[in-house]
């Protein structure tokens, strides 16, 4: 738009200069505008056609449920909902976001999310699951910058306890060239290069054999070393070895040095006279070369010239919050599957890098957008906007962990268990500071230990091993578990501090109100008040017995199953 022909007169020059000044001013104002506002502008806020399709604000109740699930991995308790609805501060949503990001539940939730993303629910092999999970949780608790986090995971050799956990990404893939290369491409670069392994990708023009083998070359000298005495696995590396490849279609052969997609290859330095720090000696010692190709991987990956690295992670965090990637599927970025909002993705990626890969910063900004805070109901009279417009909040299936914790929260199993744990601790440690059991970190850890078995059984049944897709799917086995399984049924027994016991002591309309707040995290509508009162009044088995059925129906409903 600034390419209008300018004559060479002094006036023309002055005009051009003025325009340039204004442009600079606009750009710097743009840069100081908070990211969440720029995101909304990029999505289309203000554009009349977009606004016609766009959903209204979700309202406080829908917001608190959504943001609890996304940042703390569980629905809120009925008390938390009530307090939030009663709060009058204008920036209460922003405050809640900050509060959740600082809670121990955030670190736990991100541990689940990134464990699933990085390891795709593989069983633990060479690194203990606990050790790895603690490493993830700690990294998110201290808000470790993503580039540093990835550098740790790709450089750790697992040879000593301090870096064993970080080495799990490579170790538990046994340094096997195919799975490691494919997963590096998919998980850290958003590209599934697998078909480019034997020939250039048949359907995807941009994935080339040299991309795949360039990535593989960083690790082709590394191997899984098992210490003959301790049987402990770690990563050894040789000082030589090249990657050659031949197309099965064209029989063209080529050789490649390590390289990150289309960036220049990372050439090996001239071989030193003594190429090893620790020489290989059959299978007895873990060899360590002077020049390590593997150690070049992390720096090539996180280098600013490798835009795919930052685009991939912002796209994944966007998908976690918004229910769909700007590139979707998140590991299938290529010319035939372009981003729905390329400038937005670029802006997020650059801003994220400029903020030193600060994960909490990005999540905070995303949670503050109008885009995130829209209703999942489209406007009356409008047609449903395509998912990739982000005009209406998308429904997100709860992960197995979110589902387990939310069901335990809704039925008050969490609350009842916490009370027991606190009482037990006070009894066992009478001299301890009474505030110990009020500490959120203590509470989160104690609850997690007490209830992790339930979480594991949900993961068994609802989790998928291997490539995670955003597609929702439900099996008959899962429905039978919810319908007839003993676990959920036992949580509905009216005893102690359980929800059904609480409801038993109440009368309509307080009963219906508490039920909606506890399970659906919102107050009931007038029609719902009536509908539930009728259900209880008509129940042939009597009101009290029907409370279990009431809560079951709500827990098994779509409104509960999805984050919306």
């Amino acid at each position: 738009m600034y390419s209008s022909p300018l004559n060479s007169s002094a006036l023309g020059k002055t005009c051009w200069f003025a325009v340039a000044l204004v442009l600079i001013a606009v750009q710097s104002a743009e840069a100081t505008r908070p990211l969440h506002e720029r995101v909304d502008a990029a999505i289309g806020c203000g554009d009349p056609e977009f606004e016609r399709l766009a959903a209204a604000d979700a309202g406080d109740a829908a917001f608190i449920r959504r943001v609890y699930l996304d940042l703390a991995g569980t629905i809120p308790s009925s008390d938390q909902v009530r307090r939030f609805l009663a709060e009058s501060a204008a920036d209460k949503r922003a405050q809640l976001v900050d509060q959740l990001l600082e809670s121990p539940r955030y670190a736990r939730h991100m541990q689940y999310v990134f464990d699933t993303m990085l390891m795709e629910r593989r069983p633990a092999k060479y690194v203990k699951a606990d050790q790895w999970q603690a490493y993830l949780r700690q990294s998110f608790a201290e808000n470790k910058p993503w580039d540093q986090f990835v550098t740790e995971m790709l450089t750790a050799d697992g040879a000593d306890e301090t870096n064993r956990a970080a080495a799990r990404f490579l170790l538990d893939r046994e340094l096997k060239p195919d799975p490691v290369t494919r997963d590096l491409g998919r998980i850290f670069l958003g590209r599934d290069l697998q078909c480019a392994q034997c020939h250039d990708h048949p359907n995807v023009d941009d994935y080339l054999q040299r991309h795949y083998h360039g990535l593989a070359a960083f690790l082709n000298r590394s191997y899984l070393f098992t210490d003959p005495k301790t049987k402990q696995a770690s990563i050894g590396e040789k000082a030589e070895g090249v990657v050659k490849f031949t197309s099965v279609f064209t029989s063209e052969a080529a050789e490649t040095a390590p390289r990150m997609l289309d960036l220049p290859p990372v050439e090996d330095p001239p071989m030193a006279d003594e190429p090893y720090k620790v020489k290989p000696e059959k299978k007895k010692v873990r060899s360590v070369p002077v020049y390590s190709r593997r150690l070049q991987l992390a720096s090539a990956m996180t280098d600013p010239s490798n835009a795919a690295f930052r685009r991939n992670i912002v796209n994944r965090l966007w998908a976690m919050m918004m229910g769909r990637g700007i590139v979707e599927p998140v590991d299938m970025w290529h010319a035939g599957n372009p981003p729905s909002h390329p400038e937005l993705l670029e802006m997020l990626a650059d801003d994220f890098a400029a903020h030193h890969y600060d994960v909490k910063y990005l999540l905070r900004e995303l949670a503050r957008t109008k885009t995130y805070q829209r209703s999942s109901q489209y406007p009356p009279g409008a047609e449903i906007a395509p998912d990739d417009r982000f005009a209406v909040a998308l429904q997100k299936p709860l992960s197995p962990e979110q589902l387990a914790w939310s069901m335990m929260q809704a039925t008050s199993l969490t609350e009842a268990t916490l009370q027991d744990l606190q009482a037990k601790h006070r009894k066992a440690h009478p001299d301890d500071d009474p505030q110990t059991v009020e500490d959120p970190v203590w509470q989160e850890a104690a609850l997690h230990d007490a209830l992790k078995g339930h979480v594991a059984s949900f993961v068994d049944l609802f989790g998928v091993t291997g490539i995670q897709t955003s597609q929702f799917d439900a099996s008959a086995n899962q429905a039978l578990f919810l319908r007839n399984g003993k676990v959920l049924q036992s949580w509905l027994t009216p005893q102690g501090a359980r929800l059904t016991a609480k409801l038993k002591a109440l009368d309509a309309p307080q009963l219906v109100d508490e039920f909606y707040m506890a399970v659906f995290s919102r107050p009931p509508g007038a029609d719902e008040q009536q509908q539930i009162s009728e259900f209880l009044a008509r129940a042939p088995e009597g009101r009290d017995a029907a409370l279990g059925q009431l809560v079951w129906a709500a827990l098994s409903s779509a409104e509960f199953r999805f984050n919306h």
Binding site: T465, N477, L480, N484, A558
Partner: protein
């Protein structure tokens, strides 16, 4: 997605003729399937797969590719079969009489000697990567919309904790419904103390909640979720089928041991519309005492399998049911010091027949001592394409997954064309 080349064109013709006749008589829509006999006729045209997995790796020399009197031949004889020229091991006398219903592939080389990797390759048709098993693919593309059963059912005494039921990206509903032997699936009974009226009321209430939730919302996820409850209810309705005692006369024919009962259950499942039933017979990993093991194991396998084959044929289902007998690999020609045979992925056999398969054929061969493939080498990728094309699924097409282009079978291999009917 589905290949339009059916197994039996005459059946389609028949159905079409009947359809035309009924339409001419003025019937429309579903009404044309008025009589039960017609419905059954149509149902029979649906295709399905029966997999019998001989876990541990059955010895090709003691089954489909005997070499008596040779260096590694072992003590058992080869016997003639109902197909002139084809001989199989004397340990499979009942199958020998039915050889005209089956074919053998004797030239498999998967280059894998590891149980887990071999099994994965045989199920997925690919060496690496998270791909769906052939049973999950069958479930996705062969399960009728109104099926009473999940598409993919696995009957086994152990090994049921399989990765996500083999569904990979096809989704949980196409994963294995895992049955521990003839035990009914878990959670089939309404919770204790909940009477049927209350149970139905709570389910009605669940639907009311859903109805309200989908107001001005996209319905797709709710419908998928609801479908799983619907499927669960159908399974609960089939409780009697799972719990039903087998008839005495069937037990007399199939045998009263576990594998006989599994085969009977497989028959029931196939009759009830499952797209793929896998039955696992354990215990072929004969690193020691290979010959005693095979005598015992195949003795248990041969008869019940043949009864199942006969029953499928008698019910007119064999033409629409692909039957596959397979393992994760074969066993070494060389007999070890413990009279065992070890893992051997480089020259072994499977047998298959029924829907879409040319019967009475032998594909490929091994050399005289069985130590290498001598002709028409194939691997699990070829077999995967062959199975699916036999039941009318175009394995060269892409999976029906939005946003991804994933070929159903590995594009670098192809079906064994001469085996397809």
């Amino acid at each position: 997605m589905r290949r339009n080349q059916g197994c039996h064109p005459h059946e389609h013709l028949l159905a079409r003729r009947r359809l035309l006749a009924s339409t001419a008589a003025g019937a429309v829509g579903l009404g044309v399937l008025g009589t039960q006999a017609q419905a059954k006729q149509l149902q029979r045209q649906e295709k399905r797969i029966l997999q019998v997995f001989l876990q541990g790796g059955v010895s090709q020399l003691e089954s489909w590719d005997p070499k008596p009197g040779t260096l590694h031949g072992g003590p058992f004889q080869a016997i003639p079969t109902s197909v002139p020229g084809i001989h199989i091991s004397e340990l499979l006398p009942n199958i020998a009489q039915r050889m005209h219903l089956l074919s053998i592939v004797r030239s498999i080389n998967i280059k894998i000697n590891d149980h887990e990797q071999g099994r994965q390759f045989m199920e997925k048709g690919r060496r690496v990567g998270q791909y769906p098993y052939v049973g999950a693919v069958a479930s996705k593309y062969l399960t009728p919309a109104d099926s009473e059963l999940p598409g993919y059912v696995h009957v086994s005494s152990r090994g049921l904790r399989d990765t996500a039921g083999g569904a990979a990206f096809l989704g949980a509903r196409h994963g294995q419904l895992k049955l521990e032997g003839i035990q009914p699936p878990g959670n089939l009974a309404v919770p204790e103390g909940l009477d049927p009226v209350a149970d139905s009321n709570r389910d009605q209430l669940r639907l009311q909640f859903n109805q309200r939730f989908v107001e001005r919302r996209s319905k797709a996820l709710t419908e998928a979720y609801d479908a799983s409850f619907h499927q669960a209810t159908k399974l609960m309705g089939r409780k009697a089928m799972f719990e039903g005692e087998a008839a005495e006369r069937d037990l007399d024919r199939y045998g009263r041991h576990d594998f006989g009962r599994y085969c009977l259950l497989a028959r029931t499942l196939l009759e009830n519309g499952a797209a793929c039933v896998k039955v696992t017979h354990h215990g072929y990993d004969s690193h020691a005492e290979n010959f005693n093991f095979h005598l015992e194991q195949l003795g248990e396998f041969d008869k019940p399998f043949c009864m199942l084959l006969d029953d499928l044929k008698a019910r007119g289902m064999l033409e629409s049911t692909l039957v596959v007998i397979y393992s994760e690999f074969g066993r070494t020609p060389k007999v070890n010091v413990r009279y065992g045979r070890d893992h051997w992925g480089s020259a072994w056999s499977i047998a298959l027949g029924g829907c879409g398969i040319q019967p009475g054929a032998v594909i490929g061969k091994t050399n005289d001592t069985g130590t290498a493939v001598a002709d028409r080498e194939v691997d699990a990728g070829h077999l995967f394409h062959t199975y699916l094309q036999a039941v009318g699924v175009d394995s060269t097409a892409d999976h029906d997954i939005p946003g991804r282009s994933i070929p159903i079978g590995d594009p670098s291999t192809e079906a064994i064309g001469e085996l397809l009917a």
